[in-house]
Amino acid sequence: MAAGAKLGAFDERILERRALPSLVIRSVWRFARTNPLGAFGGAVLIFMVVLALGADWIAPHDPLGVDPPNQLTGPSLTHPFGTDNLGRDQLSRVIHGARPSLYTGLITIFTGSLLGMLLGVISAYIGGIFDLLVQRIVDALLAFPGLILAMALIAVFSSGIHIWFIDMPLVWHSIPVIVVVVLSFLMIPSTARIVRGAALGIVNLQYVEAARVLGASPVRLVLQHIVPNVFPVVIVIATVSLGYVVLIEASLGFLGLGTPPPNPSWGGMFSGIGRQYFETAPWLAIFPGVAISLAVLGFNLFGDAMRDVLDPRLRQ
């Protein structure tokens, strides 16, 4: 008995050690082969994460380092993307600019889709008047144009006042905090709407009923039995939204409502005084735009591929 158990555990460990890495490699390889564009998107995502995390080591110059003699020089070997009106190295600024975009995007889709999922699942689980009310609120929130509502909320929140009891910093480790809060909030209604639809089909299934009969608490029912079944939908929403969130973040940066200068951000490079140098130094306008477009394209391709893999109903 004891020996058998030991042997079994030993076998399993061998299997695990052998199977897991090769399984991961094989499934990644299969994903790349059946979905080359999605794999490209995934590669862009990984590249961006590396760029953002390692910006301090990868960037050849200090992104804030002013160098007046070298202002507005075109692309060269020392400054491949040229320099801006203060002589700052554009390549380093583009690399560091990945941080606000990527961090905002990732934190936003994480919190936004998590909160939206909980709201959607709870709304479907409780049902009745509560559900009706939540859905009307979702209707109302969806009616506002995203960018305008984000702009208005940021204007309201960034009036330089303590928010509740927290003294919220405008930027925390190059993350525009208010933008993250507002965009996460904006993600809740659409996520909740879709998740609710998916959860409605699950709450009345027999196994949920069985769990309820067995005496499972509502919290356990929701977290243990319903949430895991809507999870693929949530993953799809999150990955598909990533590109959109990064785009909105850049647009807010362009409007001067994102990461404040001198901190580099992709959208921010298009706002403020920098704009008037675009005509004489077009590289200032080209490279950050290419960076945004490439990143968002990668995220969109990755999101599409994830949807194809995880949501068979939408597969074509």
Binding site: A143, F144, I148, S159, L247, S293
Partner: protein
């Protein structure tokens, strides 16, 4: 039909009420005091102005008294006065609306007509090289930021193409040609992302229909590809496209903000941006409410058209 109409109309009432209370709350429940923020930033700040302004804006009574009064004003079309310029907010919106409307409608027509053609071509040649190229163009259109394209057009356009953004707006009925020349390019830039979204929808919707049995029957009957596409596929695949188009029209009517700013078009989006920069809270409130209401009503219209196009909707629960 009447029952459906009634239910759909009734559903709008709570949505609009919640919408309005959110807009109302946004400015009033914000941390800090709107009046103080507003006055601190104005150059002629006197302490006795605080109470005067509070009274003028009706902020000196409890919230539960303010809301019904404010709502009644809104229903009469009175959105209050701008904190900055003291102009009537409704009047400001009406004054700035034609530009946004024209931009939105032009972008809508351009993007949708092109999306229809491209989407059908892409779907009927599924997985061919043409399909791949068109799909790549579509997803690129979703990924390229509007403000970047517009900036490039202005910067490089001025340098190489001789295009200059207009300094003053020429109404369509004064001089149609000049007006069109002013609007065509900005509207085309706005159309890019709308086009991209629509193409993807048209494509997947057409593919859905192509898999139906009646298409196979038509092929078995020996009908040509063109006849099948034009007679059977297009009509049946348009239903989901119409509902997306409604959302897009609403988005276009409210979402030309960035283009309006870059091309210096004084539309409603520009008004909203300006209000945000100046912290003009009554104006922000008015414009946000206006946009929300536009969206709700365009959606209502789309739902009604939808139920007319597809009678099955009316009988569904």
């Amino acid at each position: 039909m009447q029952q459906y109409l009634l239910r759909r109309l009734l559903l709008i009432v709570p949505t609009l009420l919640i919408l309005s209370s959110m807009v109302f709350a946004m400015v009033r429940l914000m941390p800090g005091d709107v009046i103080l923020i507003q006055l601190y930033e104005s150059p002629y700040f006197r302490s006795e102005d605080v109470e005067a302004l509070r009274e003028k804006l009706g902020l000196n009574v409890p919230v539960y008294v303010q809301y019904p009064e404010w709502l009644a004003d809104v229903f009469r079309g009175d959105l209050g006065r701008s904190l900055w310029s003291d102009k009537d907010v409704t009047g400001l919106i009406i004054k700035h609306l034609p530009i946004t409307l024209e931009l939105g409608i032009m972008a809508f027509v351009m993007s949708q007509s092109l999306a229809l053609i491209v989407g059908i071509i892409s779907a009927t040649r599924q997985n061919s090289i043409v399909d791949y190229i068109l799909r790549f163009i579509a997803i690129s259109g979703l990924s390229v930021p509007t403000f970047w394209i517009a900036t490039l057009v202005i910067v490089l356009g001025a340098k190489y193409l001789g295009y200059l953004p207009p300094l003053t707006y020429v109404p369509f009925f004064d001089d149609p040609m000049t007006n069109l020349r002013q609007f065509l390019l900005p509207a085309a830039i706005i159309a890019i992302s709308t086009f991209a979204t629509s193409v993807r929808m048209v494509r997947s919707s057409v593919l859905e229909v192509l898999r139906q049995d009646y298409i196979r029957t038509a092929q078995a009957k020996g009908l040509g590809g063109y006849t099948i596409t034009s007679r059977h596929v297009v009509k049946n695949s348009m239903l989901p496209v119409v509902s997306l188009q409604g959302i897009q029209l609403a988005n276009l009517l409210t979402g030309s903000l960035i283009i309006e700013i870059i091309f210096n078009f004084q539309g409603v989006g520009y008004l909203a941006y300006d209000a945000v920069l100046k912290r003009d809270y009554t104006l922000i409130q008015g414009v946000t409410l206006f946009f929300g209401a536009v969206f709700v009503f365009v959606n209502l219209a789309v739902d009604l058209i939808y139920s007319w196009l597809d009678p099955r909707i009316k009988f569904a629960t």
